[in-house]
Symmetry: C2
Subunit: 112 residues, 2 copies
């Protein structure tokens, strides 16, 4: 997984921007308004999201219409899939591991 994507999403306002854009693309001004942000901060956050590949802008004269890009979401999904064993709770190899640890010390003595 890409730490840049994660850190872009780590900021609450940016996460909210992404949630907003889930509905449909929006201009900077609309994003700022809906999220009660000042325009410059909105632009800055959008820049970070953009550099992380999470959003892209379509230029429409004066305005930029921002929308989500699918790639990071696909990557995130791929990454998550590699954890399927864990989050489906089929993950109980702890006992095995404890035994392995015991194994290293065995040869000395065995209490219960």
């Amino acid at each position: 997984m890409n730490a840049k994507v994660m850190s872009a999403l780590a900021e609450p306002n940016r996460l909210q921007i992404v949630e907003l854009l889930r509905e449909h693309p929006l201009t900077v001004g609309e994003i700022a308004e809906r999220l009660q942000l000042r325009q410059p901060q909105a632009s800055k956050h959008l820049r970070v999201l953009s550099e992380a590949g999470i959003v892209e802008a379509q230029v429409d004269a004066n305005r930029r219409i921002y929308r989500l890009r699918p790639e990071p979401f696909q990557e995130l999904d791929d990454w998550l899939m590699s954890y399927r064993d864990i989050w489906e709770e089929r993950f109980d190899r702890l006992d095995d591991y404890l035994q392995k640890l015991q194994g290293k010390e065995t040869g000395k003595e065995q209490q219960d």
Copy 2:
């Protein structure tokens, strides 16, 4: 989605810890060794991960065996699913939106 989870995963070392733990639970010392971290830094990162609910420790006398918790991964998956329209690239409502923008201005004059 929980921004706390995201920001916990935003730090590269912590992301690596999670990737390590995907295989199986590990002690602090082992994590530190494999990731070339000093023990205190490993402990600190594990604390952050722990407070985000991403890992939990099982106490084994002197040592703590850290393992992943399934919940954040499930949440992440749920969150991601709400973006399915986007990351499956079925997301092309931009045209609609542009028309909506045009609509607001229509009534004054219409150039192409």
